[in-house]
């Protein structure tokens, strides 16, 4: 699913250079559940941006679903994000002025799917996260856990093979957090590849494999027993 070879990301700040990623290589198999863990400043966020096709590396290769994507242009990356990756962010990142269903429909709009089909897919995704009765609520009318579930529905709507979750429980209380984690497991069981980025060891342990990153390098890769 994901194969990253010798990836570097170097930022130049005046005379200094910062090696946010310093030769990272790893792979994720289809339908695998992988955690990437590391303290802040470890290059974790940069790596997530790379996996999410939000940024391009300074050098190195990145094969996503069999396709080399590290040297694509902005608009091509947008299309990859749209079709291959479902994002779940720590702060939900829903548009506040539109309803839950409109939020879920957004990626489908950019895919160019017609109105009826779009509505059907969005309702399906919202029902799957248990919010079938709240499709016309605005984010501000929903609790944090419900908002995160809307975000999951949005990530699922376009049926991408890869779900990229960045601290998905970071802003939630433990009960809502564990519900969200349960949902990630369900997605995993339904065949999605899940990449969870976190700094929480307990969360990371729920995955099949943990990749530990520090100072832009992978320092440890463990299968979870």
């Amino acid at each position: 699913m994901i194969r990253i070879n010798n990836m570097y990301k170097i930022y130049r700040m005046g005379p200094n250079e910062v090696r946010a990623l310093n030769g990272v290589s790893f792979h994720v198999k289809p339908n695998e559940f992988v955690s990437i863990i590391g303290p802040s400043g470890s290059g974790k966020s940069t790596l997530m941006n790379m996996i999410g096709c939000l940024d391009t590396p300074t050098s190195g290769e990145y094969y996503l679903d069999g396709r080399e994507v590290s040297k694509l242009k902005d608009d091509e990356l947008a299309e990859i994000r749209n079709r291959k990756i479902g994002f779940i962010f720590q702060v939900y990142n829903l548009l506040p002025k539109i309803t839950a269903i409109e939020n879920v429909e957004l990626p489908l709009i950019y895919m160019g799917i017609g109105k009826k089909e779009r509505h059907r897919l969005a309702v399906e995704a919202l029902e799957r996260v248990g919010l079938g009765d709240r499709i016309h609520h605005r984010p501000s009318e929903l609790s944090g856990g419900q908002q995160q579930r809307v975000a999951i529905a949005r990530a699922l709507a376009s049926k991408p093979p890869l779900i990229l979750a960045d601290e998905p429980t970071g802003a939630l209380d433990s009960k809502s957090g564990s519900e969200i984690m349960k949902m990630l497991h369900e997605l995993h069981e339904s065949g999605k590849t899940i990449v969870l980025i976190t700094h929480d060891n307990n969360l990371a342990k729920q995955a099949q494999r943990i990749i530990r990153i520090q100072d832009g390098k992978i320092i440890e890769e463990n299968e979870v027993a």
Binding site: N49, G52, L54, D55, D74, D75, A78, E79, R81, N82, R83, F87, F89, N93, L94, L95, K97, I98, L106, P107, I109, Y110, M111, G112, R154, S158
Partner: protein
């Protein structure tokens, strides 16, 4: 993403910021509205003047005696003699003495313009009599105190009564009404129907005016207008020995001048109003830039879930165009309404000019595209990572 989808998004976003959108539109509304009003008023005014000139008759040559730079004088009889000698070119001559007078009948009085002339005026100035008769040669010769009144005066002084044979006082002197002039426009106060005509010989006394300075001369045919003008000019030159003592011009020249003047006036006023459209456009750009900054996070989210540059560009551009289009439409409607109001207030027959509507509306759309493009392109080039980081 298709255009309809983008349009829906734009409308939603405009609707969610009603006051701001309305204020942004205001610039465009005022711009479009003022262009339409300005151009329509000027056009209405031109139409009015042109109509007046046409009403004065064709084959018409006007002569003004300025009398500057010469001690010599020219009298009515000199001109009548000249006309007789050139009867192959000139049909007739109507002298004109004019002034402002008060006319009174019973207890009603009206201030109006008086013109003293002779029997030739009827054909020279294309003036028709509705009731009664025009002046005749005898009235002029005997300095009769007879008067023809315009329809406005008739309406004001006599209302529904028959005016013919009635007596009116002009500046205190008693005159007998012998005729009512046919209406040349709408019988309103500001129109040509607010006037009285008396024999010029009588008028010279009434207005204490010894010299007639203005003449209307009718050429035999439209073809002889130029020849008649030449003959008249050489005759005058011989009399005055210079060419600054008099001015000869014909109706066609005047029409042309009026048209030229009003055309440049229309362009100027339209241009000034157009500047307010540009100012309105800058307002749009300003608000769109603020909007892009404010919605950085929204743009980031949209990009993260798959919006391409084009999608974002279209979204913001359409928003700007929709704002300017709605502003333009409201401006056109307001312009139509206000043109009527202002026209009435200024008693100018102004009808909203279609061309000014089309031009100002398309200009407002253009303004939307032009001033919306920069903010939209700025939005579309935002980096999703940085945009998502903004709180």
């Amino acid at each position: 993403m298709n255009w309809i989808q983008a349009l829906k998004m734009a409308l939603k976003s405009i609707a969610s910021n009603k006051i701001r959108s309305a204020l942004t539109m205001l610039g465009i509304i005022i711009g479009v509205c003022s262009v339409i009003i300005m151009v329509s008023i000027v056009e209405g005014n031109t139409k009015q003047i042109t109509e007046r000139l046409k009403n004065m008759g064709t084959n018409l040559i006007n002569l003004n005696i300025i009398g500057r730079g010469s001690t010599r004088r020219i009298s009515e009889s000199d001109l009548f003699k000249f006309a007789e000698e050139n009867s192959d070119l000139i049909e007739c001559v109507a002298p004109s003495v004019s002034g402002s007078v008060t006319v009174k009948a019973g207890n009603k009085n009206v201030t109006t313009s008086l013109e003293g002339t002779n029997e030739a005026y009827e054909s020279v100035r294309n003036t028709k009599v509705e009731k009664g008769r025009f002046l005749n040669a005898l009235d002029v010769e005997r300095r009769q105190k007879v008067v023809l009144i315009g329809t406005y005066i008739e309406k004001e002084l006599f209302d529904s009564m028959d005016a013919i044979g009635q007596q009116i006082k002009i500046n205190g002197d008693i005159y007998t009404v012998v005729g009512v002039l046919e209406a040349k426009s709408n019988s309103s106060e500001g129109s040509e129907d607010n006037k009285v005509i008396i024999p010029y010989t009588t008028a010279k006394r009434l207005l204490r005016n010894a010299i007639v300075r203005s003449y209307s001369i009718q050429a035999k045919t439209p073809e002889t207008v130029n020849a008649a003008m030449k003959a008249l000019e050489s005759f005058l030159y011989k009399t005055f020995n210079n060419d600054s003592s008099y001015r000869v011009f014909n109706q066609a020249d005047m029409l042309e001048q009026v048209n030229e003047m009003t055309q440049s006036l229309s362009l100027m006023l339209g241009g000034i109003a157009g500047i307010s459209l540009i100012v309105g456009g800058i307002g749009i750009m300003n608000i769109m830039l603020v909007s892009v900054t404010e919605r950085t996070r929204e743009i980031g989210i949209r990009k993260a879930i798959g919006a391409k540059r084009r999608d974002i560009l279209t979204q913001f551009l359409i928003e700007a165009i929709v704002v300017s289009c709605i502003g333009g439409m409201v401006g056109v409607i307001l312009g139509i309404v206000l043109t009527g109001v202002v026209g009435k207030a200024m008693s100018i027959p102004a009808s909203p000019s279609i061309i000014s509507m089309i031009i100002s509306f398309s200009f407002s759309v253009f303004v939307g595209v032009f001033f919306g493009y920069y903010p939209a392109s700025k939005a579309s080039k935002l980096n999703p990572i940085q945009a998502l980081r903004v709180e």
